[in-house]
Amino acid sequence: MTIEALLAVTVGVLFGAGVYLLLRRTVVRLLIGLALVGNAANLLIFVAASLRRGVPPIASVGETAPPASAADPLAQALILTAIVISFGVLGFALALTDKTVQSAGSTDLDDLVEEDSS
């Protein structure tokens, strides 16, 4: 088995588990699901941008550039940005969840049916 296939499967499992959690009835599960799919998307970018083992994109002293075998730096920058963004958003979503539970008096998503259409 290649590492590409293995990590692709991992991405799939993370997405699958995330989506499953998204659809559960408790609000916190929904957030865990969102966090999981967020992680999955990051790993997806990482896998998609080609995998290079072990060599970080850092130019060692005396060199002008990282070695050609180094990992893709841009993908890492993108993922870093994405990790931090999803952390911020998740923090807000947690606070919102807290308030939602307080307002509805329930952790059951199916109780949040303040009708959207009446």
Partner: protein, 756 residues
């Protein structure tokens, strides 16, 4: 032209703004704007034109041109407009809403004048819609009453439905013809009517004309619109707006007269309207409804004549349009006088008012004589012309029957209004009833007298009004001018026949009214209309409740499924997964991967929330290990700390949340299957991407220039703070806002209800 329109709109605005001040003025003074408009309309020379690039990017022009038809129509609108506004000012004397009514009438008058003068199809449409809006506001004038609001809505939806059809039709016509100029279109009529899409255009345009002019089967809105104050009904629903459909049909005759569907549709639906309106008129006992239905059948007759489309038929149609506007306007205003003075509109109660209201009686008598087609009245002349025009061609002779129905019904209505109300017997004596005040009498008297004066001045009528109008509709001359008397011929016989039968029907009117009540179980147009809305609203309600049902889980399933389905379409392209090989797994690498997978599955499966949160942390740390393994220490470091902080935040919240009751969840299995499918699809996608052709990436440049240009050895960091610093700027803005949000969230207490 512009002067006329300008005076209308500006004085409407002025009246609306200065209504406090104007309310002190007498009826005569507040009618001055309408007189000015009338003067301006009189002063419009034949062929005057105006163009202004309105929406040039869309090919729309504000184009006006005063041809014969437009001038005649404008003259009717403005002339009757003056009389109606004097009348309305009298009718509403002393009421606070008088100025509002007059302002709306002026707005409406402006829209109608614009319609009459429009040369550009879309200018015409704009005014067309404006008349719908103005009439909506006028019908709903007494908006304190629910009936008025409902009727206004009904009139607006029906005419707007037609208006939208007309809109599409006009756009099609403009596209087919390559221009929206009426004159240019008429020039290319031959090519236009042979275009394959012309049938659609004709059908859509006719739909607009038919709804506006209350033709069968859309005629029901007109009687409904009688909820409007009588001056409004008199103006809109007899003299002007309802004629807009006929006017437009006449306008387009030079363009579409030869088009398929045009003649049959107009003749058949017009005839149906004559019959439906003619019969319905006789079954009513409310004077306004009698008049409304009688207007319907008159409009039907007009449509039939326009549809026949021969020069003589068009000639008759124009003559009939004039005479109908005169007598119907007069009768409506008189009904208003009667209603206001006697306090009722019920035929069964009214009678013998001639002694109390002599002037009204005189006007009603004259107008009725015109309506019944009394010799030497305008109504007679135009009716004779109509009969003659259909008789001259063998294939249209059958329409005589239709016109006879119209004449019969019209005659009976004339007898009811002109005779029964004023001379007939009634149980009540109406001792205390007085004649209407002068402003309310001027209009009916002038209109009814004009019904006699016009034929007397038949030369003026023919040469100055009808012929110019006719020339703008057809190039061929008509063979029969308007006259006072056409001699003894078959047509006169038909007239006599209609008089006699009208008399017979009139004698039986009470029986007919009873019949009308008995027939009221039949579905009326209004009921069909209401059924349509009920059905639509019911369906819409059901759809909306089912779809937007407030359940987040449903929303999420549909969203995820849609997102997954869309790329599925693309798989038809997939040439099978290519293979660019890969790197073999080393044993120790499997460890973080396995822990990530196991933790993710555990998070999904566990029933304890804390355990799920912990599993989330494990997933994060496993990912960090993977990142380290593949040369991303920055990522790993960040992921590690972020995941720890995420878990801490989760724990803060979870410990506060009351532990969930164990839910029964029938969807568990289905969701598991769904999630598995999603996971499989994403895994396939991820794998496919790793197998794409290797190629150059923009990151090669980043790696090469990081030290030289960005003075940093860590390429990732140089990208973050320099090459793509803007991403980072946006990202920290996200963080900042999220923090503000968390603080704001906790600073307020949850309240019931919606906030400002």
């Amino acid at each position: 032209m512009l002067a006329a329109l300008g005076i209308c709109f500006l004085s409407a605005l002025g009246l609306a703004l200065g209504r406090r001040w104007c309310s002190r003025l007498s009826p005569w003074w507040v009618s001055i704007p309408s007189l000015l408009v009338f003067g301006a309309v009189l002063g419009v020379p034949q062929g005057a034109a105006f163009r202004w690039p309105w929406l040039p990017e869309l090919g729309v022009e504000f184009g006006l041109r005063a041809d014969g038809l437009g001038r005649l129509f404008a003259l009717l609108i403005a002339g009757i407009g003056v009389l109606i506004q004097v009348y309305a000012a009298g009718y509403f004397q002393g009421k606070a809403s008088r100025e509002r009514l007059l302002a709306l009438l002026l707005l409406f008058e402006g829209a109608m004048l614009g319609l009459a003068y429009s040369e550009h199809l879309l200018t015409l449409f704009a005014f067309w819609e404006l008349t719908s809006v103005a009439s909506f506001l006028l019908i709903g004038f007494d908006h304190g009453q629910e009936k008025a609001r409902k009727s206004a809505l009904q009139a607006l939806t029906v005419t707007s439905a037609g208006g939208l059809a007309l809109f599409a039709g006009l756009l099609l016509l403009g596209w087919i013809g390559g221009t929206y100029e009426l004159t240019a279109l008429a020039r290319d009529s031959g090519e236009i009517v042979s275009h394959p899409a012309i049938g659609w255009a004709v059908a859509l345009i006719l739909l607009g004309c038919l709804t506006k002019s209350a033709q069968f089967p859309f005629h029901f809105w007109l009687p409904g619109a009688m909820a409007a104050p009588t001056p409004v009904s008199a103006y809109l629903h007899s003299a002007t707006m309802v004629k807009a459909g006929v006017f437009l049909a006449a306008r387009l005759t030079p363009v579409l007269g030869e088009a398929p569907l045009w003649t049959p549709a107009l003749v058949v639906l017009g005839s149906a309207t004559v019959v439906a309106g003619g019969v319905a008129a006789l079954l009513q006992s409310d004077l306004k409804l009698v008049l409304a239905y009688s207007t319907v059948h008159a409009l039907g007759a007009l449509m039939v004549l326009v549809g026949v489309g021969t020069p003589n038929a068009l000639h008759a149609a124009i003559a009939l349009m004039c005479s109908h506007a005169l007598y119907k306007g007069a009768l409506f205003t008189i009904v208003g006088c009667v209603d206001k003075q006697a306090g009722t509109r019920a035929l069964s109660e009214l009678g013998g008012l001639a002694r109390r209201m002599p002037w009204s009686a005189a006007a009603a008598g004259l107008a009725s004589l015109s309506l019944i087609g009394g010799v030497a009245f305008a109504g007679f002349t135009s009716k004779e012309l109509a009969f003659k025009s259909v008789l001259e061609q063998p294939q249209t002779q059958g329409l005589v029957a239709v016109l006879l129905v119209a004449a019969l019904s019209g005659g009976a209505v004339a007898l009811l209004l002109g005779y029964e109300v004023f001379w007939g017997r009634a149980e009540r004596l109406f001792e205390d009833v007085r004649e209407a005040p002068p402003p309310m009498l001027v209009g009916p008297l002038i209109l009814s007298v004009a019904g006699v004066a016009l034929p007397l001045a038949s030369g003026f009528w023919e040469n100055s009004l009808i012929q110019p109008a006719l020339r703008s509709v057809t190039s061929a001359p008509s063979s029969k001018p308007v006259q006072l008397w056409y001699g003894f011929d078959l047509v006169l016989g038909l007239s006599v026949l209609s008089w006699l039968s009208a008399w017979a029907v009139y004698r039986r009117h009470e029986a007919l009214v009873r019949l009308g009540r008995a027939l009221s179980f039949l579905p009326s147009g209004t009921q069909v209309y209401e059924l349509f809305w009920k059905g639509t609203l019911g369906g819409a309600d059901l759809l909306t409740r089912r779809w937007q049902n407030g359940r987040l889980r449903w929303y999420a399933v549909v969203t995820v499924a849609s997102v997954m389905a869309a790329p599925g379409l693309q798989f038809s392209w997939a040439p099978g997964l290519p293979s660019a090989g890969g790197t073999a797994v080393r044993a120790f690498e499997a460890l973080p991967v396995v822990s990530v997978v196991a933790a993710a599955l555990y998070a999904a499966a566990t029933r304890t929330t804390f355990a799920a949160v912990a599993a989330l942390g494990v997933v994060g740390w496993g990912l960090a290990a993977i990142y380290v393994d593949f040369g991303a220490p920055d990522l790993a470091l960040t992921q590690l700390v972020v995941e720890a902080l995420t878990v801490v935040l989760f724990v803060f919240v979870v410990q506060r949340i009351p532990s969930a009751k164990p839910h029964r969840d029938p969807w568990r299995l289905a969701h598991a299957v769904f999630a598995t499918l999603v996971g499989l699809a994403v895994a396939g996608l991820a794998y496919a991407v790793t197998q794409t052709t290797p190629h150059s990436k923009i990151s090669d440049w980043h790696a090469a220039n990081s030290l030289a240009e960005g003075f940093g050895r860590n390429v990732v960091n140089v990208i973050l703070v320099d090459f793509r610093a803007l991403d980072t700027l946006g990202e920290i803005a996200v963080l900042a806002v999220a923090a503000i949000g968390v603080v704001a969230m906790y600073r307020t207490k949850v309240r019931k209800g919606v906030e400002p």
